[in-house]
């Protein structure tokens, strides 16, 4: 039921978490936005943190995800798409792109939806600190 891409991303992340942006940043820092979405009851929780420079460019990301292999692979895919993007560009990342890149089956679409939601929340958190 998993595509080769999901398995590859999952295993890379599992076996070498540091190199794949697993971790956390100081949630209180002004240049960091945190978004946590999902719930243990649903079987997945994703926490995304973005570090943004003064030109509104995402310079680094960290994440941790509780969830199935697809949820972890979706997080990884999302990170790759985020780093180097401006906030406006990041806001336009759609769950469908993530799902297509990972060839997620329909019962796993919620994993990519979760990723999109976490981006929106992380950006909103960052912007609320700046305001």
């Amino acid at each position: 039921m998993y595509s080769r891409k999901v398995i590859q991303k999952f295993e890379e992340t599992l076996n070498n978490p540091q190199a794949h942006n697993v971790g956390r940043m100081d949630a209180k820092a002004k240049n960091v936005g945190t978004g946590m979405v999902g719930a243990p009851a649903c079987g997945d929780v994703m926490r995304l943190q973005i570090e943004v420079n003064d030109k509104d460019v995402i310079t680094d990301c960290k994440f941790k995800t509780y969830g199935c292999g697809s949820a972890i692979a979706s997080s990884q895919q999302m990170i790759e798409m985020l780093i180097g993007k401006t906030l406006d560009e990041a806001k336009n990342i759609k769950d469908r792109e993530i799902a297509e890149l990972l060839e997620l089956p329909s019962i796993k679409i919620h994993c990519s939806v979760l990723a999109e939601d976490s981006i929106k929340k992380a950006i909103a958190d960052y912007e609320s600190k700046k305001a």
Binding site: M1, T13, M36, V37, G38, T65
Partner: protein, 405 residues
């Protein structure tokens, strides 16, 4: 099959024992015992019939029944269907209330749902926190209209054992038909139907090193239990179950049950040691919970919740180990195990359960390897888990306001 794969899923199915496969081989080809057991007019039929009856004796012998009380079916699912729907429909004039439990196999729950559509009333009992159905709980729900009780002997996800001896005494006194799904029991716990007050009992071939596609239903003769058949056409099996008997399958199940009777003690001794070793190896992992209790479960099944890790990712990380998350029939869905839910386990624990099940061919080397791998991947997945961070930070997960989708 990749040779480095380790099979720890004996509760979902077992490989066929070599001795069983050899017996089955003898019943297929032109020079073998291929005849139709129902053919009364020639030697081919007589020989096939003889093999079928010998197998019936082996099955009856394992559970101390009369061979005339054993009806061949296509498997435990069919046996459950025949027992539950067959008894309910036959005895419906006595009453239309049936009692079962929330943690039965789907092969019991789904026929009960069907009977609800036919106008029967079903009570689904809650298990205790270890997955056991107590007699007190049953007594509380019995009514004048109760005709049937269906309770499993051993739960397939937890290995929890119900006291069918005590329950049977009660149902017999109260004139309630007692059906027991014993798909997980044969070769693991001794069963003595000459003493037990059980009226109907389901068996499976493939859970006990026999082939898939064959099972049996014990139908008590004393007292005589009657059933409305589900399949008509030829009146085989004394009208309980029509259809040409699959000699090779039946001979396979018979041989598997013969071996089980001979080797149960040895198998169980080995498996208990391996299960102890496994638990000893993994139990130093923080925040793990055994589902069920050591005091009242078979050693073949060890069901563990690994807190703060999701079960599907754990299965994926344990890639060279065949285990299951919940029951194999539901692992394609995203729902956490309904069995663990019924025990009252918190969602994150129900989502993180893995059933390790051992069997006749499990080795000490495999147990050590799987325990090591489990320890490693649990550590790795917790490093990825925001819930683990929160737990380590002392955050109470019950109090967090989650953003559900």
């Amino acid at each position: 099959m990749k040779s480095n794969l380790v099979y720890f899923d004996y509760a979902s199915t077992t490989p066929v024992d070599k001795r069983v496969a050899e017996k089955m081989h003898e019943c297929l080809l032109l020079d073998g015992n291929f005849g139709n057991p129902a053919s009364r007019s020639h030697e081919f039929g007589w020989k096939a019939d003889e093999a079928v009856e010998k197998a019936r004796l082996h099955v009856a012998n394992l559970v101390k029944a009369d061979s005339r009380e054993i009806v061949w079916t296509s498997g435990a699912t069919e046996s459950d269907n025949l027992a539950i729907k067959g008894a309910a429909r036959f005895y419906k004039d006595r009453g239309k209330h049936i009692i079962t439990s929330k943690i039965e196999h789907k092969a019991v729950l789904d026929p009960c749902r069907q009977l609800e559509r036919e106008g029967f009333e079903i009570t689904y009992l809650d298990p205790d926190e270890n997955g056991v159905i107590s007699l007190d709980n049953i007594k509380k729900h019995v009514k004048d209209s109760t005709i049937l009780l269906s309770i499993m002997h051993i739960n397939n996800e937890l290995g929890a054992v119900n006291d069918i001896e005590e329950i049977g005494k009660f149902t017999r006194e109260n004139n309630i038909i007692f059906h027991v799904d014993a798909a997980q029991s044969t070769g693991k716990l001794p069963i003595d139907l000459s003493k037990l007050d059980v009226d109907l009992m389901s068996f499976s071939g493939h859970k006990t090193y026999g082939p898939k596609g064959i099972g049996a239903l014990y139908v008590s003769r004393k007292p005589r239990i009657r059933l409305e058949a589900l399949i008509h056409g030829g009146g085989h099996e004394r009208g309980f179950r029509s259809g040409t008997l699959p000699t090779h399958q039946i001979v396979g199940m018979g041989e598997a049950f013969r071996i089980a009777a001979d080797e149960m003690e040895k198998d169980n001794h080995n498996i208990a040691q391996l299960a102890d070793l496994f638990w000893k190896e993994v139990s130093d992992i923080e925040e793990i919970y055994l589902n069920g209790s050591f005091e009242n479960k078979i050693p073949n099944i060890t069901n563990i919740s690994f807190a703060y890790i999701e079960g599907e990712s754990l299965i994926m990380a344990l890639k060279d180990v065949a285990v299951s998350s919940g029951s194999a029939c539901t692992s394609a869905s995203l729902e956490p195990s309904y069995v663990l839910r019924a025990l009252g386990r918190a969602d994150e624990l129900a989502h993180s359960s893995i059933r390790f099940s051992f069997g006749r061919f499990t080795t000490e080397k495999e147990v050590k390897m799987v325990a090591e791998t489990t320890k490693r991947v649990v550590r790795q997945l917790r490093e990825l888990s925001p819930l683990w961070d929160m737990y380590k930070d002392g955050v109470d997960l019950e109090k967090v306001e989650w953003v559900t989708h």
